[in-house]
Symmetry: none
Subunit: 267 residues, 2 copies
DNA sequence: TATTTCCCGGGAAATA
DNA sequence: TATTTCCCGGGAAATA
């Protein structure tokens, strides 16, 4: 049977014949955090390259990068035997890339609550170690506050997890039961539940930070001004003045109107 | 170093001290399909139970169930050494439960297209073998039809995958570029793009150009002017003059910037 | 630090 | 079979 080899980080390299991958730094950092906490659970799958005298990574390149970042010297690997062809390698990578959900929402909620107790840590610390978001922990734990009968509906998937989280924000068990029943009946979906909850508990003032003012001038004509940050009058008026000067100039030149966009981009 | 053991299916059992899991039949069936196609890529992690004289599954219960369904006699396993405590086991299961995205959207698209060629199969057959949805394959492949420069925006994640799919439904490259630029600029999100596309292709009696000029002034600031019909200079300049007068007036009044939209709508 | 909002990835079911 | 619609899971960033 195959052995698991402990291979030095620097003896491994990505397979050059495989499609180039792009890695998000924060994704690798999150994985590195869980490797620091628990090590590499699943061995990489590697191929021998006799010419280069090194190992090529068949699957697990992001684990390799994260392990390096985490300061590991070696990583566990399985040598892929036989002569896998390109289709096999591609198929394996796609399969590995894909999620497997072994835990139900309630299982996850209970596991996280237990972990917090056992490790005596905060939700955020736990999130970091496990490589999941703090928001996910908040939402999972909220499920445990639901009445038993509602939890049963979640367990049976009659009420989806994200809908159940919205329900958990209702202040009393009876309203929660009522909403859960409506969802199980397919009379309400998540977004409708979220709206019902907001009506009840009062909505939060949300202001988008990206500024945007849309001015409808009538007859279908409108001008919208947008920016990455909140807009102020100085920015708005300077912008309008710029576009006005340019429009007059181009109009006098006899340019066509699309030139307005081009000329402002260039300037 | 640890060995990979080939353990008979019936010598394995779920760890009774671990939280009960619920499994979706269709989830297990999908996994079984990929196991039939490519086998079990990642060994299960198991613990010895001396009392019961069998192995307990630490991680990989759904792979075990799927393997049974797929008719395998044995599965590859790694024996977890040492005395992992409950926190370790729970943490490992949560980590394993979690997604790792090794492939970018464009990488996935290219890998799927290549697999279809190599295996000479339909998208649906491929979906089944890989354990992903047919819809995902349709969407991934659509990305390959985008102009190079738009594909580059997707690769760099300036345009999200699902948004890029909506863009790919626009009938011509110029509209696609325009939408992609708006998304990269954060002027449009996915749902707005989807609506724009529906307006354009749903109404098939092609609505020839609603006039629109988008002026990027730099630093994220932009002004767009749009109308139901084609735009001409007179309309543009009159519109700009109106908004300019109003902006100056409201600015002098000390109003907040959103008043600009309201006051023009009223007038 | 914890919670909530926003919105993207992607599966199931409806549709072509 | 392929594509599109609908909507849930869950991360990032805003908010408390």
């Amino acid at each position: 049977m195959d052995k698991i080899l402990s291979v030095a980080i620097e003896e491994l390299m990505p397979d050059p014949t495989q499609p180039r991958k792009s890695f998000l730094d924060e994704e690798i950092e999150r994985l590195a955090a869980s490797i620091r906490a628990r090590g590499i659970l699943m061995p990489l799958r590697i191929l021998r390259d006799e010419e280069r005298r090194c190992w090529l990574i068949a699957t697990g390149e992001s684990r390799w990068r994260a392990a390096r970042l985490a300061g590991l010297k070696t990583v566990p690997c399985i040598v892929v035997d036989g002569q896998p062809d390109e289709a096999d390698l591609l198929a394996d990578r796609v399969i590995e890339n894909h999620v497997r959900h072994d835990l139900s929402a309630m299982d996850l909620a209970r596991a996280l609550a237990k972990l917090k107790l056992l490790k005596k840590c905060t939700s955020q610390q736990l999130a970091k170690e496990l490589g999941i978001s703090g928001a996910a922990i908040t939402r999972a734990e909220a499920l445990l506050s639901l009445p038993e009968d509602v939890q049963t509906l979640v367990e049976s998937r009659a009420v989806p997890e994200s809908t159940a989280y919205e329900i958990s924000r209702m202040p009393d068990a009876d309203s929660q039961r009522e909403l859960a029943a409506a969802v199980a009946d397919r009379r309400l979906k998540r977004d409708a539940v979220a709206n019902a909850v907001r009506d009840r508990i009062g909505k939060r003032a949300v202001k988008p930070k990206a500024g945007r003012v849309v001015c409808r001038l009538g007859g279908g004509l409108s001008i919208s001004i947008s920016a990455n940050d909140a807009l102020d009058w100085t920015t708005i008026i300077e912008a309008i003045d710029r576009i006005r000067r340019e429009a007059r100039k181009l109009s006098d030149n006899g340019s066509e109107v699309q030139a307005l966009a081009r000329s402002l981009r260039a300037s």
